[in-house]
């Protein structure tokens, strides 16, 4: 799907990671009043990043499952920290997702963000650097750096451009995340103390061979890592920051948050928590699975009773990512593949939903379901796109949502039928709350006069919505290439977990 460009070996990953950073530095010197220029620079930067990420996929050899395109340079020898990047099947799709989302997010903010444009774009580009970096970092400290580096920009984005309760929400977001990550930090240090390295591959090797951890250590370390990631996901019952953050964040913030940031948690579990401490993961498997199943159902129930659209979708994210976490803890190929696809799918569908809510919010300045109804008549185009997004998020076969969901649920069912059964019930509930929302939102008679004058999607909005739809259909009808990208890695992964 991407032209194979094996010939010249650029440091592709560094390019992907650093382009947004450089771009944001460039922005620092831009004139703050020349908003158009700032926006264009940022947009160019993100598109360039997308380009590089495609290049990355082009250079990515999908036939082998090991780390690829690795780059390793000494950084802080004296502390044993190295600049070590690499991608494998697990991360490549997520990097792609991130780079895919960003330009359109930026595009979406052209009309919504008019205050402190410069700061905003700098922040969001830094955010991208952080996200991509975290996905490709192979040095624990480096990962931690990026992981935390996402925090400040997101915090600012929520806090500066957010809604009424933004300060509370931003603080909650920050503290919640910090709680987790600081304990993870401690755990990382302990690992260093135990193995004498921060480098993930080496670390894994040593843990397996020279200096293994005893079960007690495994337990605590696993806990430290998993809690941190579970907060990011967010896994029930650590989810309460999410609704606030989503509701208060500006559109772009919500999109990035739902589209990419939450994946950081599931990715972390997949990349660090489980491979590093397999036994502990195995011991706590049922606990985690039950938690995520509860999360699936609980999130759905919560979503059912929300009146604020963004809150509703926030809770739906809790439910959806419950699936992913559940699958992460089921070590078989189907479920893991499903999990990764589902991360991407959730990124696409929920991201698109948030984009569209942002669009309607710009026109109507309310997120209360009660204030809408019947707008399907006024904004048919909008309604169609919205419906597509909804359908993809409730996993209608033929759209992306279904593929991941099916693989994932089958994987779970295959190893623990009961869990598979319970989790699948989330599919029904998903349809329930989503269609409720659609009914109240789009259909029915028009009760509010203001709704008669809403304008439909304009070209710019179409430009950044259509790619999402295209991806949804592509992933829904011909996901094979994507699956091929991840399969070899996951095969190795599963083998590793088996013994």
């Amino acid at each position: 799907m991407i032209p194979e460009i094996q010939s010249f070996n650029l440091p592709v990953l560094s390019l992907v990671v650093l382009t947004p950073l450089l771009c944001s530095l460039l922005l620092c010197f831009a004139d703050r009043n020349n908003k158009a220029l700032i926006r264009q620079i940022a947009l160019m930067g993100s598109f360039l990043t997308l380009l590089f990420s495609l290049l990355m996929v082009g250079n990515f050899d999908s036939s082998i499952g090991t780390m690829q395109l690795e780059e390793q340079h000494n950084w802080i020898e004296s502390l044993g920290i190295s600049y070590h990047l690499g991608v494998d099947g697990i991360s490549v799709l997520l990097v792609l997702l991130t780079c895919f989302t960003m330009p359109f997010v930026l595009l979406s903010t052209w009309s919504s963000i008019t205050d402190r444009v410069k700061e905003f774009h700098i922040a969001i580009l830094l955010l991208q650097t952080g996200m991509v970096g975290a996905f490709v970092a192979l040095d624990l400290i480096l990962f931690y750096l990026f992981y935390e580096a996402m925090l400040i920009p997101m915090y600012l984005i929520i806090g500066i451009w957010g809604g009424k309760e933004r300060i509370y929400a931003a603080l909650k977001f920050f503290i919640f995340t910090m709680v987790g990550s600081l304990f993870m930090f401690l755990a990382i240090l302990y690992l260093y103390h135990h193995t004498g390295t921060f480098d993930l591959p080496v670390l894994l090797e040593r843990l397996r061979t020279t200096n293994p951890l005893d079960s007690g250590q495994q337990f605590w370390l696993f806990l430290a890592f998993t809690i941190s990631f579970a907060i990011k996901v967010p896994l029930f019952p650590l989810h309460t920051w999410l609704p606030d953050a989503h509701v208060q964040a500006p559109t772009a913030g919500s999109v990035v948050l739902a589209g990419v940031l939450l994946k950081m948690g599931t990715y972390g579990i997949l990349r660090f928590a489980i491979p590093l401490f397999p036994e502990a993961a195995f011991d706590l498997q049922s606990t985690m699975c039950w938690l995520s199943i509860i999360g699936i159902v609980f999130g759905a129930c919560m979503a059912l009773v929300q009146n604020d659209i963004k809150k509703l979708i926030a809770y739906s994210s809790v439910s959806h990512l419950g699936f992913v976490v559940l699958a992460c803890f089921i070590p078989n190929l189907e479920s893991l593949t499903g999990a990764i696809l589902q991360m991407v799918n959730h990124g696409l569908s929920t991201g698109m939903l948030f984009l569209m809510i942002g669009i309607i919010y710009e026109r109507r300045h309310t997120r209360e379901l009660a204030d809408y109804g019947g707008i399907c008549k006024v904004v048919p185009l909008f309604s169609i796109f919205f419906l597509i997004a909804v359908l993809s998020s409730i996993g209608l076969p033929g759209l992306n949502g279904f593929v991941g969901e099916f693989l994932l649920l089958y994987g779970v069912f295959n190893s623990v039928p009961l869990w598979g059964f319970l989790a699948s019930s989330g599919v029904v509930l998903g349809a329930l709350y989503m269609l409720n929302m659609v009914k109240k939102f789009l259909f029915g008679p028009i009760v509010h006069e203001q709704n008669r004058s809403i304008s439909d999607l304009n070209t710019r909005e179409l430009i950044y919505l259509i790619p999402f739809v295209v991806m949804m259909v592509w992933l829904g009808l011909y996901p094979a290439p994507f699956i091929k990208l991840v399969q070899p890695t996951l095969t190795l992964y599963v083998e590793m977990l088996q013994n």
């Binding site: 919560m302 009773v305 599919v427 409720n436 028009i446 094979a480």
Partner: protein, 661 residues
């Protein structure tokens, strides 16, 4: 390998794209041309394909491309399969579908959502064809949910009315419940068959292997095949409106009438039956499942018929009759008479579409008046409609030689055979139920006829003279369908009437038993008996109806006014309070529970106490610590001194102990 198959579903999809994207720009004319021509073309393509089957080829197959494709672990291709069964279904779908498309041109004239309507209709056709042609359950599932989506969209087509949207939502969600079971069923198939390909699922040897395996549930052990069959059947109950998931279908009548005809009568609702036929060997392998299916089928048939008695909305009557007919089909499946069931699918597609379209033209003529109490004596104004509707009625009532007669007779015979020849007790009961139902069907259809067309007019003056026969495409569609439902029966004339059960053989659903002469004689005798009985019951039903709604009005009065009559009337007209039951005992409790959870658990417990509570606690401690800083120098000095003392004490104490040791 025949990629032309792809065009059958693809063409309507193109129609959907064109109308959906550019529909608003194009005029009504282009829209309808595009929308109707494409299904017709795919009708002819499937016709061509069908003819290839007729001339020997046993099946056409398109390998397609890898879809959900985990190399060596889970390989689901996007492949199409065209055998006898799917061929016939294709023809029905595209044929009847095209007719209804044409009909809609007249019916939907001047509707603001014209292009939207046709787009949906095309999309539906696409998904239906995908459902029919899909070579594996998962692909079928795309169609399966896709048609659900379309019905959702079309039921809520006039979305300004809240009720319509609610109905649509209900349809989708109830279907989802079924699909949930379907999904689990597929998981089990994957687990035990290792594939979802129809060829594998119907492979006798594999089925034998699997049927040896069992699953343990908390409540006991069950065979894998049985479980799968039951789960898939539950899926079917959702789609095909069987107990307990039939409740959405009557509400689905909120949609435009052609939609009701196409989706909720002719095609979609029969996809459950189609699925069962597709997996015939699988179902046959589990007698328990078959029993359940038969029971559900029979009961559904009866219940729906009972409700149909007292409905005054013409479409509701037809809706319940649909449910009841579907019950028949499942009854047949339960009895192992797949060919009969599928035969009934086909004939039912004809006459039920006819009836709906007829009612549609009535409603159209009456300016969207559906209440039969406001009709009557329309025979004069709508002679043609009346004629076609009559044919439909007789067909469904099972009057020879119309289509319904043959199919229904086969179904009843299958019950009769299993019940009385093979001496199966439960089968006898089910047979009897469906036997009664046949009579009821005739009765309430006659009731519907007479309330609508016969007797003196109850139409309010305003309309009286406006009512006129809708011509054009509407008439054409009615005409074609009337012929079809008149002659459709001859597709599958049983041997004892000198036929060859063509359809049965063509679809490979009917296997002629190898019998000795006297066995076949006995069989034929039984067939004659059963046919006689069914004719009898149908006739009596007709006569009763004609009498009650003709001369014997006072007799009817006396019946209805009697206590039992009233009680029955109330229950029947309130649909036996099933909706209320669901509403009160499932939907509402669930919502209240969610509310409670949200307030108590999420807001108060987690967010309030655990999160913010902790924060407050910390700040409280901070406040206390802060207050310890009094600002008095002596206080500071004392802190200093005491601190020094304590440290000194600790030190010396330690040293003393150290010295002691």
């Amino acid at each position: 390998m025949d990629s032309n198959l792809l065009w059958i579903p693809l063409l309507p999809f193109l129609g959907f794209l064109i109308n959906g994207l550019l529909g608003r720009k194009l005029g009504h004319k282009t829209v309808s041309t595009v929308a109707c021509s494409l299904p017709i073309i795919s009708f002819f393509i499937s016709y061509a394909a069908w003819s290839r089957l007729v001339y020997g080829e046993d099946a056409l197959h398109w390998d397609g491309f890898p879809w959900i494709w985990l190399e060596g672990v889970l390989e689901v291709p996007f492949a199409l399969h065209f055998d006898g069964l799917s061929a016939v279904m294709c023809l029905v779908v595209t044929g009847v579908g095209s007719l209804i498309h044409l009909y809609s041109i007249g019916y939907m004239k001047g509707d603001p959502g014209y292009h939207r309507y046709f787009a949906y209709l095309n999309l539906f056709t696409t998904f239906m064809l995908l459902l029919v042609l899909g070579d594996n359950l998962l692909l079928m599932f795309i169609g399966w949910e896709g048609v659900g989506l379309c019905s959702y969209l079309l039921i809520g087509f006039w979305y300004e009315d809240d009720a319509n949207c609610t109905a649509g939502k209900k349809a989708f969600i109830v279907n989802r419940i079924g699909d949930f079971a379907f999904l689990i069923g597929m998981f089990l198939c994957l687990q035990h068959f290792g594939s979802l390909d129809m060829s594998v699922l119907t492979e006798a040897t594999i089925i034998d292997r699997v049927s040896a395996e069992t699953l343990t549930f908390p409540w006991g052990v069950a065979g894998v095949v049985t479980t799968i069959a039951v789960l898939l059947f539950i899926g079917a109950t959702g789609k095909s409106a069987q107990i307990p998931l039939y409740v959405w279908l009557p509400d689905a009548m909120a949609g435009p009438t052609p939609v009701s005809a196409l989706i909720h009568a002719a095609t979609m609702v029969t996809s459950g039956v189609y699925m069962c036929c597709r997996l015939m060997p699988l179902f046959e392998a589990s007698s328990a499942a078959m029993g359940l299916i038969a029971a559900i089928g029979a009961c559904t048939a009866l219940l729906a018929a009972l409700i149909a008695f007292s409905q005054n909305d013409i479409k509701k009557v037809l809706a319940y009759s649909t449910v009841s007919q579907l019950g028949y089909m499942f009854f047949a499946i339960g009895m192992g008479a797949f060919s009969a069931a599928f035969f009934h699918v086909v004939t039912h597609a004809f006459f039920k579409a006819l009836l709906f379209l007829g009612s549609g033209s009535v409603i159209h003529a009456m300016h969207h008046e559906q209440d039969m109490r406001k009709m009557g004596g329309l025979k004069k104004q709508l002679p043609f409609t009346h004629f076609t509707f009559l044919i439909g009625t007789l067909a469904i009532a099972g009057v020879p030689p119309l289509a319904g007669f043959f199919s229904k007779d086969e179904i009843l015979f299958s019950g009769y055979q299993q019940g009385f020849l093979d001496g199966d007790g439960s089968a006898q009961i089910f047979w009897f139920i469906s036997f009664l139902t046949a009579g009821m069907t005739a009765f309430y259809m006659i009731r519907c006829m007479s309330m609508t067309f016969w007797g003196q007019s109850r139409v309010d003056e305003g309309l009286e003279n406006k009512v006129h026969e809708p011509g054009g495409w509407i008439g054409f569609a009615l005409f074609v369908l009337a012929i079809a439902s008149a002659l459709g029966g001859f597709l599958n004339v049983p041997e004892f009437l000198g036929g060859h059960t063509t359809l049965g053989h063509f679809t490979q659903l009917h296997q002629t038993p190898i019998l000795t002469a006297e066995q076949s004689d006995a069989l034929h005798a039984a067939e004659w008996q059963s046919m006689f009985l069914s004719l009898l019951i149908a006739g009596s039903g007709l006569v009763m109806g004609i009498y009650c709604y003709g001369k014997g009005r006072d007799f009817r009065e006396s019946l209805t006014s009697s206590a039992a009559g009233q009680a029955f009337g109330r229950w029947s007209s309130r649909k036996f309070y099933v909706d209320e039951f669901y509403e009160r005992f499932i939907v509402r409790p669930f919502e209240t529970l969610s509310h409670l959870l949200f307030i108590l658990f999420d807001r108060i417990l987690i967010d309030g106490i655990c999160v913010n509570g902790l924060a407050l606690l910390t700040r409280g401690i901070g406040e206390v610590v802060r207050k310890m800083q009094t600002g008095l120098i002596p206080g500071y000095l004392l802190t200093f001194g005491c601190g020094a003392l304590v440290l000194l004490y600790i030190l010396l104490n330690f040293l003393r102990e150290g010295g002691a040791q």
